[in-house]
């Protein structure tokens, strides 16, 4: 029933460099393994008196103590990416409710050998077991079974990309100002929690921000997230490319080696703008990596930013000239008049509010001047001056106005958002057919439903 989306998110950055070396990301998009795997596993009944029983770690092989299909009934398929696939599931015996199960597939289809778990999966497992906050997607459990890793999350009926789409496609009116305020407020609370715990998310974008039917906003997909407390190596060394291109902060585009949680706040600024405008504010085209060694300068993306924001200057951003790629800025205006005559964020903002008919005279019905002040504090070139999550939460936009942010982003909204689409074509998922069947994946317009699409670079 969903019309084709106007746009889909560009892919999240894939693993590169050292991370890729460990991840050996030889991932093919084509064949998809089945969730259910052959039931020929060694569940040995332990014989306590016989030292040679099957409990030997190696002689008996790894056998999971928990089985996904015993604990969950798969309802259908939600989305896929390079990491694997996400399924919707219902709990069995004792497990009540709905769940989203993320399955990390083995590197090669029908892989019979263990090859080592990717850095990305390790990060997500390690962080998911520690994190606990109402605005971060809750991890129910992690199951390792038959060479696959299954992370079981609480289920969220919506995500921001899907909500934005609904307004462009079906509703054809702007997202109410109160809804946006509540979304940002909850998002920033989740982010504050992550940053206080030394976690940078590094892939914030609408598709990765979940919304439950109760209107709770939850940050999802920690596959690129990492700890930044006293790193043993610079963050750049680990992952050459982070954050999906449209949401990537200028210091990342300019090749910063030692970036900070501020990269997440730039992304929040981009998401705020997108909620207002219903389209990405900086929708650049990604320059693909031609080889794994060098990271190209993202010229088009930088242009898109400058077209609105104007050229960054040393006065506003003192460390600008120490950015490795800053010399590219000089040639940015060549053949691009809009770079030379930028619109200015304030003009962009006012034009956007007008175009989407936010009533200027009704307080609470428009994000207003406070909204602009917050947006410009988030889309601040200098990462050291950019608002932190804590500062953003104390901003007038949230504290001053007569209507404080709601804990339920749907409060007062009459918009009915469609439920997450769950593909029922995967009938054989619920059977115990063996893995390895060719599957071409889902229809081309499923991008709307992808909470975390991560394609391979190039």
């Amino acid at each position: 029933m969903n019309p084709p989306p106007l746009y889909s998110d560009p892919p999240s950055p894939g693993p590169t460099g050292a991370a890729a070396a460990a991840a050996h990301s030889s991932v093919s998009q084509q064949p998809q393994p089945q969730l259910h795997t052959p039931s020929k596993t060694t569940t040995t009944t332990a014989n306590l008196n016989d030292p040679a029983d099957g409990r030997n770690m190696l002689a008996g092989g790894y056998s999971s103590k928990k089985r996904v299909t015993e604990r969950y009934e798969i309802v259908g398929f939600i989305s896929s990416g390079t990491y694997g696939r996400v399924y919707k599931a219902r709990g069995r015996d004792g497990q009540v409710g709905e769940f989203a199960i993320k399955k990390f597939k083995p590197d090669k289809e029908g892989e019979v050998q263990y090859t080592g778990i990717s850095q990305s999966a390790i990060r997500e497992m390690a962080l998911c077991t520690e994190l606990s906050h109402p605005n971060v997607v809750h991890t129910v459990e992690i199951i390792l079974e038959n060479k696959c890793i299954f992370i079981v999350f609480e289920y969220a009926e919506h995500d921001l990309l899907q909500i934005i789409h609904h307004h462009t496609q079906s509703a054809r009116y702007a997202i109410p100002a109160r809804t946006i305020k509540s979304i940002l407020y909850q998002l920033l609370h989740g982010l504050l929690y992550l940053h206080r715990n030394w976690v940078i998310h590094r892939d914030l974008k609408p598709a990765n921000i979940m919304v439950t039917s109760a209107g709770e906003v939850k940050i999802g997909d920690l596959g690129l997230a990492r700890l930044f407390y006293k790193p043993l190596h610079s963050l750049f060394t680990g992952d050459k490319v982070v954050v999906t291109i449209w949401y990537r902060a200028p210091e990342l585009l300019l090749g910063s080696r030692h970036y900070t949680p501020a990269v997440d706040l730039w992304a929040v600024g981009c998401i705020f703008a997108e909620l207002l405008w219903l389209r990405p504010i900086f929708k650049g085209e990604e320059a693909k990596m031609d080889n794994k060694k060098s990271v190209p300068f993202q010229r088009n993306q930088m242009q898109k930013i400058v077209e609105v924001m104007g050229m960054p200057t040393k006065e506003r951003w003192p460390l600008l000239t120490s950015m490795p790629e800053h010399q590219h800025l000089q040639s940015l205006g060549a053949g691009n008049p809009r770079v030379l005559r930028p619109q200015g964020l304030e003009n962009w903002y006012n034009a956007c509010l007008q175009a989407n008919k936010y009533p200027a005279d009704k307080p609470g019905a428009t994000p207003g001047a406070d909204g602009f002040a917050l947006l410009s504090g988030l889309l601040e070139y200098d990462p050291q001056k950019r608002l932190t999550a804590e500062q953003a939460l104390q901003h007038d936009y949230f504290t001053k106005q007569a209507d404080p942010p709601s804990e339920n982003c749907f409060e007062g909204s009459r918009t009915e958002y469609p439920h997450r689409r769950v593909s029922q074509e995967d009938h054989d998922l619920r059977t115990s057919s063996i893995s390895g069947a060719k599957r071409t994946g889902v229809a081309a317009d499923d991008s709307l439903m992808r909470p975390s699409k991560r394609l391979k670079e190039g």
């Binding site: 850095q119 390790i122 390690a126 994190l131 700890l227």
Partner: protein, 322 residues
């Protein structure tokens, strides 16, 4: 959580009481009577020293950071509270724990690199192939309940270095004491900041020039620590303790003349006062000190070859290297 020890899986799921840990081990032995009888091993503390040494060996050639080594050591120690060692190939477990720790500490290495290093150390006949190592990784993560983030005392040590303006030699002594504590059960018993405080206290009080805790000096260290322990437990004033430390620490006494000695004594006073005012669990500090003393004592009986032979015996006899 990741930065908050109090909400971490380490505190909530991987910290034992001493009787609790002993009971866990006793039960495991109870369940595995036949194996224990058939394949006797040197006492648990010696095997523990042996295993942790193996991690160091693996890491040494490639100059890995201490924090990776420490994380791997904690994984191994946690793992063997749940799995009977005689059902595993400890050399493979050590190699795999190290491979996993490289990833969680954000210094990933390709599985083949670590595998080659393992084979270099213990031979291809002991370390099976990549697939076995990948499988072992599953077992390891599963037994660790996917709780892979480990809090170490080094972070607190850096903070205390600032607080007390620790000179390099004392910092280094404290650092080595922390490294040594991974050879004991202490990482399963106390929060990392207690270990860091203990290490700093001992480093300041024993303050001998021999900051490297070399194997042949263990007995010596045990003596020094015992002296330190006495000053820690006696209810005297900070100044008296400082003087006492000068008596107990042989080299500290020698170096106590001149301004360097005065500064050192000043630091002792500062540390002792700080300890008194802080809400640090002093019983834990005392107990940690005792554990370290007993480590240095038992270390003298450590015979690497005897441990290795005993381990190899069950690995080979039971085909765990296949």
């Amino acid at each position: 959580m990741a930065a908050n020890y109090w909400a971490s899986s380490q505190r909530l799921h991987w910290t034992f009481t001493k009787p609790g840990l002993a009971e866990t081990r006793r039960q495991m032995e109870e369940n595995e009577k036949a194996l224990h009888k058939q394949y006797p091993l040197p006492e648990q503390r010696l095997i523990s020293i042996f295993l942790m040494h193996q991690v160091n060996k693996l890491a040494k050639r490639m100059n890995y950071k201490q924090q990776i080594i420490a994380t791997a050591q904690v994984y191994i120690r946690r793992f063997y509270t749940k799995v009977e060692i005689r059902r595993t190939n400890p050399f493979l477990v050590v190699t795999t724990a190290f491979y996993l720790a490289c990833k969680t500490e954000e210094s990933p290495q390709h599985i083949r690199v670590i595998l080659a290093e393992g084979r270099n150390n213990w031979g291809a006949e002991i370390i099976p192939d990549q697939s076995k190592m990948g499988e072992c990784e599953f077992t390891l993560i599963s037994e660790l309940n996917s709780q892979l983030i480990v809090h170490h005392p080094y972070r607190t040590l850096y903070e205390l270095q600032q607080t007390f303006s620790l000179p390099n030699d004392e910092f280094s002594t404290a650092w080595h004491i922390i490294n040594d504590h991974y050879l004991t059960d202490l990482p399963l018993l106390y929060p990392p900041h207690v270990i860091a405080v203990t290490a700093v206290f001992l480093a300041v009080v024993i303050r001998p020039a021999q900051n490297a805790l070399l194997p042949h000096q263990h007995q010596h260290h045990a003596g020094n620590l015992a002296g330190a322990l006495q000053s820690l437990t006696s209810p005297q004033s900070a100044a008296a303790i400082a003087t006492q430390a000068g008596v107990h620490g042989p080299t500290a006494g020698a170096g106590a003349s001149g301004s360097a000695g005065a500064a050192a004594q000043g630091r002792i006073v500062k540390v002792v006062n700080w300890l008194a005012e802080s809400r640090i669990d002093m019983e834990a500090v005392v107990d940690a000190t005792q554990e370290l003393i007993s480590l240095y004592e038992v270390w003298d009986q450590f015979n690497e070859k005897a441990c290795k032979d005993a381990v190899l015996r069950f690995v080979q006899a039971r085909g765990l290297d296949k």
